[in-house]
Symmetry: C2
């Protein structure tokens, strides 16, 4: 189809499928720029057959090959040797495939990826089944006598069951796993480019807040000198919720328009919580009823948003009541599950889309509908969603959930980078100041820096003993906005995921180390080995390696890939191609920068840059190698970048004849460039 | 079909289905003895339709109706408001439908039950979905303002998705939920009748034991005066396992025949562990290979036991090598899962049975094959299996697993009573003497009293501080054998489950109490209510209510149904129709007997009664009402009871003119009766 992109031609996709539900249009122009690359697998080793109305698929696996992806799992990164039933759901604490983004796309360490474009629940056996006629049979051990016996003999294939006989299979190949992910994202239309304010700080207020409460809260942010770009309102903004009216509560919010404008005048956006289930007493109910599915959720009807009619009912209302008064976007809750209150798989929808398909795609339809609405107005949005899937990279929505395990939130963020989705480890409340700070540190190095106080009412300063450090990391987030915004531009234009798992980092080697299990008749009767899994560190953009510290830790180990690495704060050399152990201070989240890494920063501020502002730029350089960084800029608010209204500025360090590093920039635009007084700072002495 | 049994006639069953795989033949003679009963539901409220190649089913639910069953779940008993994907698997700690006996049969508190006879993975929504056009819509609350808002509005239907368009639906009705379960079991051919020795004590030795080690262990049982009826050998009896040879290890067991005979001479049976996966170096491998599925498990081939050819290969071998030398039965391990090593759903089998169907039925095929083999020889067997399903009640196999949570083991035992399967809370090892004793107490009030020391090597006397109490409860088990054997006869002839959940007990009312949830933004964001679930007490046969005590408990509450209840040990009145709180002594498991309850007992002994023995019988009576008990007897070893070679003796207490209780028995047979010197003991003064 494009260089390094192939589609299996013998079977057809179903009418309802993920990419079409996501309205994903391949960025063919970008994809065609890639160099040609040979087909990465031995074709005869791929088997795709129809049997009993189902599709049985097999893709070969090499002995030392590792597999990643398959959506937003929370506990493991390396997928080999595991089984996933990809099924849209509220994550339930087990990595079994039921999650908020059960993306049927996997990436191999060998530089290729496979997308099964289907809206069915599929089962993916990632190197578990061993065939009788396998050409690479594992050695047979005798458990009675061989200590080396393993509960899981090595399998030489990924196998997939699709419960219908139609599905699109697309294979991506690249020179590295990162290139494969880039192509996958470009195939979905590229990554999203959030508005600049979206990368600042969001605070979601208590659900029962009135407009006065919110304004007071904003003043408190002023007093505490804490950044704030967006206020999120939780269910209480509506006059009824669960099921929802989508109509402002006239007591708590007597004048929504003036409320939203008041915030906007302070450079603060308003984001509104909704879930998709419409209350009988909503004005939308009657016009929407004809487009509703057979079952209710929390007594609300479920609009069939695969239908243009349903979309129009919603968007006409939304445009009139929310968008036109200045609402910046939505948090779309509970489009994922869970089973006990979502529509059952026996539900029917007027479009004829199966309940199963509707469940896998509902979040996609909702995101597409809302993005299209903002696009029409030429205003960018940046919101939240709890259900996404394949083809979603262009959607400016960040996934979140209720699960709230800090360590697992970071693993989820890492996994998001393989699957073309964004994840925020949102902060709600904490058992201690230490936990509060540790969570705040990581959320500031995520796609959305946010506190969600919907129930707890917690403020950034609720733990006074750590507030200085909390403010410091939030300030750091604001200083890094030029770096972060350029990182997202790379996501948009090149498909490069802003959160990068270590297996996508050049110089990182996943050795598939296993720790042998210890036999225990009740705890480990099969003597299961534990896979060493790198799930607590990641790259934030090209240059910053983040090594979060969790509550209770006083030190941690960090894997530094090949090439030298330097401490972000001091510029001091930290190591190369080794595992280092660092002492964890409470105040700072450990960050490392690669050799030659360039990081553009602005002074600390309380709001993201506003279109037209000119800001001084400090460009930091780390290490002793030359480096380059492409600084992206545009108006930060509209879709005019689609018409070419943007600039890339090359920031470059070179060595003079004495070997001293010098900085330089190549401006390509004077009009689309928000920076002045560029100063270079060489962090490594 | 029979009084109170209906089959839905508009759709056909699939060729491969559970009842046929179980070779279940309805006991029509018994079923026809029941009185006629009207159809229990409004027929028009049942909907079964084919859509997109699947079956969508709906059965009505009344507001105060409770639903039980759906197989061996471990954490809850009451199914209402929950969703189950019935899927054969290793239980994984969550009641989601994946378990060792995912039986698609549910029982209503309203006195009917529904069986979906399909070998597919089906999803059952037990009162979760609420339809837009429901005639009984729940009240709509506003979560913003109503404290009464619930995350789960009451649904008026059970809904079922079957992923193919064929399935048999059978509805059972009775005057009570117990009668419904009886009919379901009779429809499967009635319950199993174990040999008498099977109800004694089983000890499974360490996997590495030699025949000498085993004989020494048996001597230790003698020395410790501990009952022993069956020795179980774990994988080490074979020369290779995982995958298995099924061939004796010539070093550890140089003379199997004399070994088995030596034990038999001591009245001890031998049970052998196997799993179904055949090693390349087994003599069975070559003849079986033609019948094997496409995938291996632990490098062993998976015989397709739906084929007569495969069965013959196995049973010819088994008869020659094991049965004919006196082996009493098997423990059939790992026929259930789990996904990471079982065959994947893309596996194929020579019979054409789908991998999914094979997984749901594999345990049934294995049990049927083995039972048939012993039946042919007119020798009863009693063994273990880790995978079962609908139609299994006649199989003399008890389910067990590795999960090992004591409380949840009891919940599983309770749930087994709704689903026509047997469960043992087997004891392996314990963290303390207290835990060891508590586990031993419950396993002695289960279908199989067993220690499984395969890995730990633990002995009954390994915790000396509690050994006296351990021996006491094991002795109690042996004393109760006439009661337990009669209880199983009632299972066999009348379908009455030996382990009876409280909702099957007359006089017990399940009030569906809910405890309102407490909102917590991270722990309970939906303010989910907790269902009060009676999952820690059950009836063992008709008369004994067992209220297990778990480690750490010093007291517990016990729900006594309507009618008076008496302490088993003292005969003292305990209460009626109330919740009592009892102090838990370490030495005794709390037991209560219903008013008029009669319990026949023999003197404590080290082996179950042997055919031909004549034993003194003590008949205990509790309370102050008259009562009757049907004492069953037969040879205890063969299937001659199928030819009428058995006796039922009525034990009856009546009051004389002064109101004093007197005991009497009506013997119907002198030849088939193992008891002499019947003495009556009136426990309640």
């Amino acid at each position: 189809m494009s260089p390094g992109v192939w589609r299996y031609s013998d079977i057809q996709k179903e009418k309802t499928n993920l990419l079409d539900a996501a309205n994903a249009k391949p960025d063919t122009a970008k994809l065609n720029l890639w160099e040609k690359i040979p087909f990465p697998l031995v074709e005869s080793q791929i088997q795709i057959s129809k049997q009993n109305g189902k599709l049985y698929m097999r893709f070969p696996l090499e002995k030392d090959e590792q597999i990643y992806g398959l959506g937003l799992q929370f506990k493991q990164v390396n997928r080999r040797g595991r089984v996933y039933d990809l099924h849209m759901d509220h994550y339930g604490g087990v990595d079994n495939g039921r999650t908020h983004a059960p993306v049927p796309f996997y990436v191999s360490s060998k530089g290729y990826g496979v997308l099964i474009n289907t809206a069915r629940y599929i089962t993916v056996y990632v190197g578990t089944g061993v065939r009788v006629d396998s050409p690479n049979p594992p050695r047979v051990y005798n458990r009675n006598t061989d200590e080396d016996w393993k509960a899981q003999p090595l399998s030489d294939a990924v196998e997939v069951l699709v419960p219908v006989d139609e599905a699109e299979v697309i294979l991506f190949a690249g020179r590295s796993p990162l290139d494969v992910v880039r192509k996958y994202n470009l195939y979905s239309g590229g990554g999203c480019l959030p508005p600049k304010w979206g990368l600042g700080f969001m605070y979601r207020t208590h659900t029962k807040y009135t407009s006065e409460d919110v304004i007071k809260e904003v003043e408190e942010f002023d007093k505490h000198e804490f950044p704030l770009d967006c206020i999120g309102l939780e269910p209480g903004w509506m006059d009824r919720s669960y099921p929802c009216s989508y109509e402002w509560d006239s007591v708590r919010f007597p004048d929504p328009e003036s409320f939203v404008k008041t915030l906007l005048n302070k450079n603060i956006r308003t984001n509104l919580w909704i879930n998709p289930y419409l209350a009988p007493r909503s004005g939308l109910y009657e016009p929407m009823k004809q487009y509703a599915g057979s079952h209710t959720v929390w007594n609300g009807i479920v609009p069939d948003y695969s239908l243009a009619g349903a979309r129009k009912v919603f968007t006409d209302f939304y445009e009139r009541e929310q968008l036109n008064i200045g609402v910046s976007g939505l948090k779309i809750d509970e489009a994922d599950g869970y089973d006990r209150w979502l529509w059952p798989d026996v539900a029917t929808f007027p479009s004829g889309v199966d309940a199963e398909q509707m469940r896998q795609t509902y979040g996609l339809y909702l995101q597409d509908m809302l993005l299209e609405e903002y696009h029409k107005k030429n205003i960018r949005t940046y919101g939240l969603v709890r259900a996404s899937n394949a083809g979603a990279s262009r959607f400016p929505f960040v996934i979140y959930n209720d699960y709230y395990n800090h360590e697992d939130f970071i693993t989820a963020m890492i996994n998001s980078g393989f699957s073309g989705v964004l994840w925020t480890p949102e902060v709600r409340s904490s058992a201690s100041g230490e936990e509060w700070l540790r969570r705040m540190q990581t959320v500031c190095f995520s796609p959305m820096a946010m506190i969600n106080a919907w129930s707890s009412g917690t403020k950034p300063w609720s733990y006074p003993e750590v507030f200085e450090a909390v403010r410091e990391v939030a300030a750091m987030r604001m200083q890094l906005l030029p770096y972060i915004y350029s990182t997202f531009a790379d996501y948009h234009f090149n498909g490069t995921p802003p959160i990068r798992p270590m297996p996508l980092v050049e110089g990182f080697v996943d050795d598939d180390g296993e720790e042998a299990g210890k036999l225990d008749d009740t705890l480990n009767p099969y003597k299961l080995a534990t896979k060493k899994d790198i799930k607590d560190q990641y790259m934030f953009g090209d240059n910053i390696l983040v090594a979060p510290v969790f509550t209770g830790q006083t030190s941690r180990s960090v894997i530094l890939p090949k090439g030298k690495w330097f401490d972000f704060y001091s510029g001091v050399y930290a190591g190369e191609n080794e595992i280092i152990t660092i002492r964890a201070t409470l105040e700072k989240i450990p960050l490392f920068v690669r050799d030659g890494g360039i990081i553009p920063m602005i002074p600390s501020r309380r709001h993201a840059p506003i279109n037209g502002e000119l800001l001084p730029l400090e460009v930091r350089h780390y290490g002793d190698s030359e480096g380059t960084f492409l600084l992206y800029d545009d108006d930060g608010e509209t879709f005019d970048y689609e018409k070419g209204e943007f600039s890339w500025t090359e920031l470059r360090t070179t060595k003079d004849q004495q070997g001293r590093l010098l900085g330089a920039e190549t401006k390509v635009s004077t009009t689309i460039f928000s920076y002045r007084d560029i100063t270079w700072r060489f962090m490594t002495k």
